[in-house]
């Protein structure tokens, strides 16, 4: 421990400094050593020789990071709390769709469908809900990624993170959010009965096929075509007098499950198309290499 030197002044000895450096001292002793070090150049010199510089640098970096990094936005904090990795959360927070306006639009659309179900209970209202729900993720994905939608689309293309991964990440987030909201809405429509989940497979099928289509034509157009085809299909297949549609019967559901799988397969095979504005990866040679 420390003691007075020949001049009568008190100094910390090597053992004490060692203990301090190894964090073996209790709080009171640590503070006294620190108070002494601030006023005694000789002991500071001695302590400096013991300090692990790498550890000091790590502590300093952690401190700066903790103090200096701006607080993340609400969406980001929520995602991190849900267990999403910090960097993934930031990628998702930049999704134009996951902003208030889209969530509000989805909630409003579902709200209307539910309200219609309560005020005019019957097959018409049920069909309206089942018809609208699969369109919601499509509308979100339309504003989730791509030229003219994502302001950093071009910078993203020139960066090494595969754009396909970013697209999938965002599509999954949008699909997940829309599915959760639609599921909540179907619970609010008890008269729907076991057919309440009839929108789920069409929703997956339409999302997968619109993304697959986006490997050939502009994403917005692909989504527009898919949405148009769905609306047409619902209108055409509705059978009076007791309105029902084959789309929500077993046949239709199986077809949409198949469409989802097919769309996913096409998307996987042709994912290279998302990696540049145009030009790369369109040659047969490339496609062959990807398939191998």
């Amino acid at each position: 421990m420390g003691g007075p030197d020949t001049t009568g002044a008190w100094h910390a000895d090597g053992a004490l400094l060692d203990a301090y450096n190894d964090q073996r001292l209790d709080a009171a002793a640590r503070w006294s050593v620190e108070a002494h070090l601030t006023s005694c150049a000789a002991c500071r010199r001695q302590a400096r020789a013991l300090v692990d510089l790498a550890r000091l640098e790590r502590v300093r970096a952690a401190l700066i990071d903790a103090v200096d990094v701006p607080r993340a936005g609400m969406v980001e904090r929520l995602l991190v709390r849900l267990g999403v990795a910090e960097h993934t959360a930031r990628l998702l927070a930049a999704t134009p769709a996951l902003r208030g306006s889209w969530l509000l639009a989805v909630a409003a659309a579902l709200g209307f469908a539910v309200a219609a179900g309560w005020t005019h209970p019957g097959q018409d209202a049920n069909l309206a809900f089942l018809g609208v729900a699969p369109l919601l993720p499509l509308a979100g994905i339309a504003v989730a990624y791509g030229p003219g939608v994502d302001p950093t689309y071009e910078i993203g293309l020139a960066a090494p993170l595969p754009s396909f991964r970013l697209l999938l990440l965002r599509a999954a987030a949008v699909l997940g959010t829309a599915t959760l909201l639609a599921a909540a809405a179907s619970l609010a429509l008890p008269q729907l009965g076991p057919g309440a989940a009839g929108w789920l497979l069409p929703s997956l099928g339409l999302t997968a096929s619109s993304l697959a289509l986006a490997t050939t034509i502009a994403p917005l157009r692909a989504i527009g075509i898919t949405a148009g085809a769905w609306i047409l299909a619902v209108v055409v297949t509705v059978m009076p007098p007791a309105p029902s549609s084959v789309l929500f019967a077993v046949t239709g559901q199986v077809a949409f499950a198949a469409l989802a799988l097919l769309g996913a397969a096409v998307l996987l095979v042709r994912r290279g198309r998302f990696e540049s504005d145009r030009g790369f990866d369109t040659t047969p040679r490339f496609a062959a290499r990807r398939l191998r």
Binding site: A62, G73, H87, D150, T152, E154
Partner: protein, 290 residues
């Protein structure tokens, strides 16, 4: 002085949009240092820079950058990890702060380790002089500051190849000076290609200059050589010389004429701008001098 080995090789690059040949057989090499790319609007500058930044690919011809061929997926990803690209009109997620935006691009550049990434984001923001406003939302920043944010993201990861599309557009003279200081420092040991309308930028910064016009490379060489093209073709006179390709009244009240001078003309020293205008010829000169 020995010429350093080229870091970028472009051969017979052709790119068409419908019937327009935006790039019509462009061939050049780039070496470390700053190269300025001049050309009027619609010359194909942005198209060329986008190809170098691997954002799009040409219809034919070849591009090799840093020894990598972007036609191969793995090499393209390698190249993307070593290049910085500042697009002509960089978009921003306006709600992000300057820090968050650059951090977002750092994630796109696959810097996943949080603390190291944040350190790098702080470094590039300091480099462009935006350290003090890093916590401000981008929508609250001035136009000049936004361009510096865009430049900062291009500097992430200390890239070997920097592709900057009109980085000085919209900067005031002081910002432009700061930008030149920064880019001239970056040009040491790195390959920097920047497009600009400002011949002053090229004079101040570039060791090499290229002129692109209607999809063809019209000139590649040293800035002095470009100025040299106009030597003996610039003269002053009291009145506008009708034989001149272009002429304008300068601040001194005299007319500065470019073209084939008449005998006994009062010749002036040619600048890089004179060489550039002479190279573009006729209409372009009228337009530029107007």
């Amino acid at each position: 002085m020995t010429t350093p080995a080229p870091t970028v090789r472009v051969r017979d690059l052709v790119m068409t949009f419908g019937r327009t040949r935006a790039l019509d057989g462009v061939t050049f090499d780039l070496v470390p240092g700053v190269t300025g790319l001049l050309g009027p609007n619609g010359a194909g500058k942005t198209t060329l820079l986008r190809v170098l930044a691997t954002v799009s690919a040409g219809d034919s011809g070849s591009v090799h950058a840093l020894g990598l061929d972007p036609r191969h997926t793995d090499q393209r990803l390698d190249l993307r990890g070593r290049l910085g690209y500042m697009p002509q009109e960089p978009g921003f997620h306006a709600r992000f702060t300057a820090f968050e935006f650059v951090d977002y691009v750092a994630i796109l550049k696959e810097l996943h380790q949080r603390r190291a990434r944040h350190q790098e984001v702080r470094r590039v923001l300091e480099l462009v002089g935006l350290g003090p406003v890093r916590g401000k939302q981008i929508k609250a920043l001035s136009g000049g500051m936004r361009r510096r944010v865009a430049l900062a993201q291009a500097l992430l990861g200390d890239p070997d190849l920097l592709v900057l599309d009109e980085p000085t557009a919209g900067l005031d003279p002081e910002q432009r000076l700061r930008f030149r200081e920064l880019v001239s420092r970056l040009g040491e040991g790195r390959t920097v290609l920047l497009s600009t309308h400002q011949t002053e930028d090229v004079v101040a910064l570039a060791r090499h200059v290229m002129v692109l016009h209607l999809g063809r490379l019209r000139f590649a060489g040293a800035p002095l050589e470009l100025a040299g093209l106009a030597r003996g073709h610039v003269w002053q006179s009291q009145e506008r010389d009708p034989g001149a390709l272009a002429a304008w009244r300068t601040g001194t009240g005299q007319h500065r004429n470019i073209g084939d001078p008449p005998a006994g003309a009062d010749l002036l020293e040619a600048t890089l701008e004179d060489g550039y205008l002479l190279l573009l010829g006729g209409d372009q000169v009228e337009e530029a001098a107007a």
